[in-house]
Amino acid sequence: MLLEIKDLHANIEGKEILRGINLTVNPGEIHAIMGPNGSGKSTLAAILAGRKEYEITQGEILFEGKDLLDLEPEERAGEGLFLAFQYPIEIPGVNTQIFLRAAVNAVRKYRGQEDLDAMQFLKLVKEKTKIVELSDQLLKRSVNEGFSGGEKKRAEIFQMAMLDPKLSILDETDSGLDIDALKIVANGVNALKSPEKSTVVITHYQRLLDYIVPDFVHVLYQGRIIQSGGKELALELERAGYDPIKAQFAEAV
């Protein structure tokens, strides 16, 4: 098992957002987490990556058997967890390439690997930029500064490729993307797929799942996973919307 979330409850400012999440991700699997706005999808992603504003009131998260909640965000990155941000942050003045090299070497250090020297790093950059069709010019600019929406998302997938994670969490990576950009991002994710690596795709729409085909689909609603299934569940949601499932859930509780 790569990731195991058990009965996770979390609050922010006293308000309960997650109310008992259970989720298991095995190596090589792609999971989609869907759900209406405000259901707790991004909160789950943020907690996995290590944001501190949330208070975990109950439950645990294991990453390859280790207590994930015990690790700092940078340690989680080192362990092989990657979050592609819904809204990638701009860091003015910090060159993208310098940032990435710091990130790659920090993660390598954590994994007990040697630093990449400038030549090795550039080689890796060259190899990975191809995957997401990212222009070299973007790498010369400050981190995400002045990037278009599509460029930001592609840059996230590029970073993911560079950091070679075991588990990638894509938080609404499809939001704000036109169909061409969506395909590029999806192709990038698919190119990185392997039997050891897993992906959790968080999305509001089924659209992305035409390109990144999930093994499992989960519906998150009011802080709980209320339904799980195969990829056909996503299609059903696309057709009927969230209302039937919400109604079902309302009856059940």
């Binding site: 990556a49 290590g50 944001r51 700092e72 965000p73 940078e74 989680r76 990155a77 080192g78 990657f82 979050l83 941000f85 990638p88 942050i89 860091i91 003015p92 003045g93 910090v94 060159n95 310098i98 940032f99 990435l100 710091a102 990130a103 790659v104 920090a106 993660v107 954590y110 400050s142 970073q159 950091l163």
Partner: protein, 481 residues
Amino acid sequence: MSTETQTIEALATQEYSAGFVTDIESETLPRGLSEEIVRTISAKKDEPQWLLEWRLKAYRHWLTMEEPHWLNAHYPHLNYQDIIYYSAPKPKEKLASLDEVDPKLLETYNKLGISIDEQKILANVAVDLVFDSVSVTTTFKAKLNEMGIIFCSFSEAVREHGDLVKQYLGSVVPYSDNYFATLNSAVFSDGSFVYIPKGVRCPMELSTYFRINTQDSGQFERTLIIADDDAYVSYLEGCTAPKFDTNQLHAAVVELVALERAQIKYSTVQNWYPGDKEGVGGIYNFVTKRGAARGESSKISWTQVETGSAITWKYPSVLMIGDNSIGEFYSVAVTNNAQKADTGTKMIHLGKNTRSTIVSKGISAGQGHNSYRGLVKVMKGAENARNFSQCDSLLIGNRCGAHTFPYIEVRNPSAKVEHEASTSKVGEDQIFYCNARGIGTEDAVSMIVNGFCKEVFRELPMEFAVEAQKLLGISLEGSVG
């Protein structure tokens, strides 16, 4: 009138005590300031009459001045009678081994990657120099001598090159300039002197670091740099390693003179003791730095990285006298914990087509307060003067402050003066984003801050820039919770 001033005046007006001069052989003069002290300092250094008179003029003028307090920070009235104005060599206690040195200091040295031998020198541990600094210094000096470059201590310059000193001393910062410069003029103990002859491009960065024998020139330093016609020099001030000096007041004076088409680049990395977290102790760095770009097409460029001191109060300035002359000021000032900085520049345009650039980056963390204060003055005769100023402030945390006080005075309608300012905050989002990519918080802050400062670091000589980056990291350590 304060009691201090009265005491000073009482001392100043007292009879010349002949017996006092016989004390000349002793290493350290008693605490306090008087005309006798000024005379004694001058006598100890075998100074010519003209210099003694200059010092005395300064001293007498100083007595008529009031200690200024207009900066955007508070410091208590200083007791000038409690300062030792002369001691040679400076009697610092030699330590027997590194084991006796404050471990925190050693930790900082290690972070800076300073070799053990250098650490010993910096921490004042008695040591036989393994790397032969004497021979390094001599080889270096021989090479400069060949080119006619003079680079020596101020005292040596007074002895060996008295005419040059006499011609230029006080020509940019007159003895009456301001309270601390005037005090310095009266009591300065030593400092550096540089003269680059006509047409010579100094082949190496000149740094006080190479003059280990005179680096302890104390709290009243005086530096005078002259670049003759078509000459070029890049001068580095200070050592980048932190020195835990116990002197409270540092009142130095730096004068630069650039003649026809000459260029002077002056870089400072200042990392004096900033005091503890509560602001106890620490140095008052009240320094007067000014350059005169006298010659046509001459250029003076100041670059400073100020990370230390309890209070930094200085305005490295350029008088653009020659037509087409250029003044530049690039500054990074960091205030963490209880540190305060009130710094900036004065760009005075006198000649035609003079151009100045100001890039100031203020970083505040902890409860630090950072003020940029700058004056751009275009005089009547300065046709087509140009100035561009950019003042950016970066805040880390919620308890610090940034302030900007730009003054612009234009007396010629052809002038173009531009001022840009920005204030930003190192956001938790930015730090988290770095964390999520595997970069630890301190490295993240250091990266963001270095990115913010890069326009200034670009102006520093290569090795200096690297050390400045490390220093910045160290001085901001623990600033993000």
